[in-house]
């Protein structure tokens, strides 16, 4: 087996250390082409096709494999991911370079390689006896790698000749480096640039749009004039940051003004935390979220943040003079106090570019292929892309990636990635909001699905280990109609001693999702199931969420049970936990109104509309809360350092100010010293003349609350859950739709000895990382939900036209009022200032929240009448607009 020679590879690290490593060369590495007699098919996993049926290329009509170099892989990954491109050989040299240079691209290329349809093959050339090359004297690492790639390409071409002369299989070397290409052609390797090759694919013209346009650095200076100053190299930046001449921070573009941005400086420095950057040249091609280095100006050049709203709407792309005029506009005379630290971007430490959603602004010239793309996010600059399908893409939502921003270009260059569909279409808009909220929603990969149980599935002897048979109990679940992911079921029976036994049975998801495998990793990444108005993005594959884990009626299902013995006064005498098998009977509620899962703790305001809560619902909810609390106690007892818990911090008293003031204006008193007194005083706050007041007060109270978060018990001291007034709390009852519950299930299973532990489970830092991700995903899921509701409300009002409805004032602002329309549960802002109209006289009173507009006074909770309509003046950002009907 070991027919290898030993090589010594000497590298110098840090100048003094001499590292000697062994490097074995092998002769058993397959070339990846099936049916190759020389290699004997000595490779498993994805392989190349024996007869590549590639898209017809006018440059290379013979069947061929592609062999890209590192830069092609790094920059043209969008092209390579296209289903039309198949049979690609990825060299180990290339893969390692990609790994060192860009983690996201490395991940993408790995995903592509694992996809069998794509026929990508990774060739371990560095360990192959015939393709290994040693670094020569005077040759740098890059040149050596280029040479290694060429040697491998050459070897492949000769090797494939041996298999079948009649087949005439070829390996085409793809490189964008001119010199490298010339050398390859000299050595007799068929080589093309990526652009040449893609353009030769006559059957797939759409691929050209996905090409990243990279301008050759050398040509750049010659053409056009330079707008921006050069970015300093990383080594200089790091030197400058160390010595204090430059500051490192995150670049945050302004939503209102495209010529202004702030840089949040990293570290704990008290002063100069926020640095203002003003003007195109000083922004120096930084894009929102980039990590940049800035140079601070002397105080004499400091400016104040401008309050001007400026949107980049110029049609003429390279009109730089005009920009300068506009920049002058920003510099208004202000008092010295308003001046803030100001600086300019000198270099980029790390780009944080991602693919952006948005729309095409078609160029005025009919035949033009260059167009500007306007991202949905206003903080992202417009991007210049090249496309031939401008007319088809017009009015569509598309995704574009940035390739680079040369010094002589007003806008960054990018390329088209994907067409999402028509603006306003439900599917398109859903896709957009999922992308913009970073909700992972791709179909589950083959690797993930491979860890699902094989169907038909039944409970085996092995499954019954450490498991109690509770099939004889009458267990039922309570669900709205059409619900397919049933997490929980209940039972209750009278015991011989007169006490009651109550059990909560939760789907045993952790039985199917084993720690550490691809399925587990994917669910951990997704963190939660996201419920949109008409769509559900599952956290676990459907087979589990809607079938094997779902506690459906009249079938045997695995469950994790929490069973209490209670007396008739509902005092808990005993609590025990066990894994079990149950057979549930379903109970369907006739209430059709469950559009969203309600957050049982903070009562998300979206759900406050005319929803009717049945007693059964609240009964189920009460028992779920009880189960969560019981489990939280148990896992904290067992794992005091690494229990996953959930807390809801008490809000600071100042948060309640607005609520107290508002209540006072209606002669009611709200006590906020404890959660209990708050709840009691809210219950008492009724006004017979104004029945809706109580609901309004409760909505206001919700707004005062803090966010509930997951945390690891070893990393925090404060466990209190304010909303539920419980000293300890966790999530146990919805493992199908929340990953936190899966971790809690595992902890509890270990605590009762029903399952084994694994190292990551008892590592508090890993657990804290999981909590961080879960909190982020939950927040994003919530935002996505709200955005989805907002979009559906828009659809609703689009069909309705203009309507007038009664509304209540929820908040009073300095120049507007926020109103709530009980009929639709819709909230909106009514502005009193309008464009092109004289400003009305506004007087704002903070003590009794009220606003005086000309002669009318608006108080909080006043009843008004508003007109609701859809504002489609901006296609990308349609919104509901409200205006006052009564009082005038």
């Amino acid at each position: 087996m070991l027919k290898s020679r030993t090589f010594l590879k000497k590298t110098r690290a840090g100048g003094v250390m001499k590292i000697v490593r062994e490097h074995y060369l092998r002769d058993d590495i397959g070339c990846g082409a099936p049916g190759c007699a020389a290699c004997g098919g000595a490779h498993e996993g994805p392989a190349l096709e024996p007869q590549p049926q590639d898209p017809a290329s006018s440059l290379c009509p013979r069947p061929h494999y592609l062999l890209p170099d590192t830069n092609v892989l790094l920059h043209q990954i969008d092209v390579l991911e296209d289903p039309a491109i198949r049979n690609v050989i990825v060299l180990q040299t290339v893969l390692q370079e990609v790994r060192n240079r860009s983690a996201p691209v490395y991940k993408r290329i790995r995903d592509v390689t694992n996809n069998r349809e794509k026929h990508f093959y990774t060739f371990t050339n560095e360990h192959h006896r015939e393709t290994y090359v040693e670094q020569e004297q005077g040759e740098n690492a890059n040149d050596r790698n280029d040479r290694a790639i060429r040697v491998a390409a050459k070897w492949y071409n000769e090797h494939l000749k041996n298999i079948s002369a009649e087949n005439q299989l070829q390996v085409i070397f793809i490189t964008n480096d001119r010199k490298n290409k010339e050398k390859a052609v000299e050595e007799g390797i068929p080589a093309f640039t990526c652009e040449e090759y893609v353009k030769s694919l006559t059957a797939n013209p759409e691929l050209i749009d996905r090409l990243a346009c990279l301008s050759d650095e050398r040509n750049e200076i010659e053409s056009g004039k330079v707008i921006f100053s050069e970015h300093l190299p990383l080594s200089k930046l790091q030197q400058g940051i160390k010595s204090g001449t430059y500051l490192q921070g995150t670049f945050r573009a302004s939503r209102e003004n495209y010529l202004e941005a702030t840089v949040w400086i990293h570290g704990d420095t008290e002063e100069n935390k926020e640095i203002i950057i003003q003007g195109l040249k000083h922004l120096n091609r930084a894009v929102h979220e980039d990590i940049v280095a800035v140079e601070l100006f002397p105080k004499s050049q400091w400016v104040a943040p401008s309050s001007v709203v400026l949107h980049d709407e110029g049609l003429n792309e390279d009109d730089v003079e005009k920009e300068e005029e506009r920049e002058q506009m920003l510099k208004t005379a202000v008092s010295e106090k308003m001046l803030k630290p100001t600086g300019r971007v000198v270099g980029i430490i790390k780009r944080n570019w991602r693919p952006y959603c948005g729309m095409l602004s078609k160029s005025g010239i009919k035949e033009s292929r260059r167009h500007l793309f306007t991202p949905a996010d206003k903080r992202i600059p417009r991007i210049r892309i090249e496309t031939r399908q401008a007319s088809t893409l017009e009015g569509r939502r598309i995704i574009v990636a940035i390739d680079g921003w040369p010094r002589n270009s007003r806008y960054p260059n990018g390329h088209f990635v994907k067409n999402l569909g028509d603006v306003g279409e439900k599917e398109t808009e859903t896709e957009v909001l999922l992308l913009e909220h970073d909700v992972p929603h791709q179909p589950f990969s083959q690797a993930v699905l491979s860890f699902l149980p094989k169907m038909p599935w039944s409970i085996t002897e092995k499954d019954m280990k450490n498991r109690e048979d509770l099939r004889h109990l009458c267990v039922c679940s309570v669900d709205p109609p059409g619900c397919t992911d049933i997490d929980d079921a209940l039972h209750c029976r009278e015991l011989e001693n007169g006490n009651l036994e109550v059990g909560v049975h939760i789907a045993d998801v952790s039985h199917f999702i084993r720690p550490g495998n691809a399925l587990d990793q994917e669910s951990a990444r997704r963190g939660t199931t996201v419920y949109l108005c008409e769509k559900r993005i599952d956290m676990v594959p459907e087979l589990l969420s809607s079938n094997l884990c779902s506690l459906r009626s009249n079938v045997d299902r695995l469950a994790f049970s929490c069973i209490w013995e209670m007396n008739r006064n509902a005092e808990i005498l005993k609590t025990r936990f066990t894994k079990s098998v149950i057979n549930s009977k379903a109970l369907t509620l006739s209430s059709p109104e469950v559009r969203f899962h309600m957050d049982s703790e903070t009562h998300d305001p979206i759900d406050l509309q005319t929803k009717e809560l049945r007693e059964t619902n609240s009964m189920v909810e009460e028992f779920m809360l009880l189960a969560n609390i019981s489990v939280a106690k148990r896992i904290h007892e067992e794992f005091s350092e690494h229990a996953l818990l959930r807390k809801h911090p008490a809000p600071p008293p100042s948060n309640y100010e607005i609520l107290v003031k508002a209540a006072k204006s209606k002669n009611l008193e709200i006590k906020t010293d404890t959660a209990k007194s708050l709840a009691d005083s809210l219950d008492r706050a009724e006004s017979p003349a104004f029945p809706y007041l109580n609901t309004l007060l409760r909505i206001l109270t919700t707004r005062c609350m803090m966010q509930a978060v997951y945390f690891c018990s070893g990393m925090d001291n404060d466990f209190h859950h304010y909303g539920l007034a419980s000293p300890i709390y966790t999530h146990f009852t919805s493992p199908i739709r929340r990953y936190a519950d899966i971790i809690v299930h595992r902890l509890l299973a270990v605590a009762i000895g029903a399952d084994c532990t694994y190292p990551e489970l008892t590592d508090k830092h890993k657990l804290a990382d999981i909590c961080k991700n879960l909190n982020f995903r939950h927040k994003m899921a919530q935002y996505a939900q709200r955005a989805s509701v907002a979009f559906h409300t828009q659809l609703f009002f689009k069909s309705k036209g203009i309507v007038s409805e009664e509304a209540y004032i929820l908040f009073v602002r300095k120049n507007a009022i926020v109103v709530l329309i009980p009929k639709y549960g819709l909230e909106g802002t009514v502005f009193f200032e309008e464009k092109d109209k004289p400003k009305p006289g506004l007087t704002y009173d903070d003590e009794i929240p009220s606003l005086k507009v000309e002669d009318t006074v608006f108080h909080i909770f006043d009843k008004v009448k508003v007109k609701i309509m859809l504002d489609s003046s901006n296609l990308q950002h349609q919104k509901i607009r409200m205006s006052l009907v009564e009082p005038q």
Binding site: R21, E22, Y106, T122
Partner: protein, 245 residues
């Protein structure tokens, strides 16, 4: 800069080996004439020299003599130049004491000590170059040296290390793989009976994976045995030719 990838998707390790493959082993017996037994081994870039004296009378305090068996005395040392960064290692530091103790335990289990009561067997091992798996190299070298000295043993003692990366057990770790900080298991095996002379593990490894790693180490130790056996047979052949048989 991403960290080192210890095992690629294609199943190759940093130096080009597959998960269960050993490094290249070269060994020689009888390298010194004045010692009773001696051997030199190279396992990849790890190189070790072992010298055996005995069995002979107890040196020093007579009180150390054991009435029923021989005393096995092991001393480990590492050359100043054995690692990339040259460091003086005083005789008797913690690491070499520990290693000496481990070697002693290993060979007390393998040598038929009851054949030589009240006597002493000295095993001196020196590592000339360290590139991971020093314990294993020392044991393997010492085995050959003990055989060379003609001291009766139950069986060869073959040692090998194993690690665990991404759900796969790696045999015979190199220095780079050891330095990555994963769990590492050292196993000394008596291959014929499958008995374990010594098993050591640092860092935490989940119970569920232990069997897999142990099996990888055991298989590697059996592979080492095949190689050492070949070395011994060849040495005996050469010796008998010299004797003129």
């Amino acid at each position: 800069m991403a960290g080192l990838e210890l095992l690629s998707d294609q199943g190759y390790r940093v130096d080009g080996r597959r998960a269960g493959e050993l490094r290249k082993i070269q060994a020689r017996m009888g390298v010194f004439a004045q010692a009773d037994g001696s051997a030199y081994i190279e396992q990849g870039n790890t190189k070790a020299l072992a010298v055996v004296y005995g069995p002979h009378e107890i040196r020093g305090s007579r009180a150390r003599a054991l009435p029923d068996r021989a005393l096995v005395n092991c001393q480990y040392s590492s050359a100043t130049f054995s690692t990339g960064e040259r460091k003086r290692r005083p005789h008797g530091d913690r690491k070499s004491c520990e290693m000496g103790l481990q070697l002693r335990q290993t060979f007390e289990a393998a040598i038929l000590t009851q054949l030589h009561p009240r006597s002493q067997i000295d095993i001196y091992v020196q590592v000339l170059q360290a590139d991971g798996g020093t314990y294993a190299a020392c044991v393997n070298a010492a085995t050959l040296a003990v055989l060379d000295a003609g001291i009766p043993m139950r069986d060869f003692v073959c040692a090998c290390s194993a690690g665990f990366v991404d759900g796969t057990a790696l045999a015979d770790l190199s220095h780079v793989e050891e330095a990555a900080g994963g769990p590492q298991l050292a196993l000394a095996l008596l291959p014929a009976a499958g008995q374990i002379a010594l098993l050591e593990m640092d860092a935490r490894l989940h119970e569920d994976h232990l069997e897999q790693v142990l099996e990888a180490a055991a298989q590697a130790a059996r592979d080492v045995h095949t190689l050492l056996d070949r070395v011994v047979r060849q040495h005996v052949c050469e010796a008998s030719i010299l004797l003129g048989d």
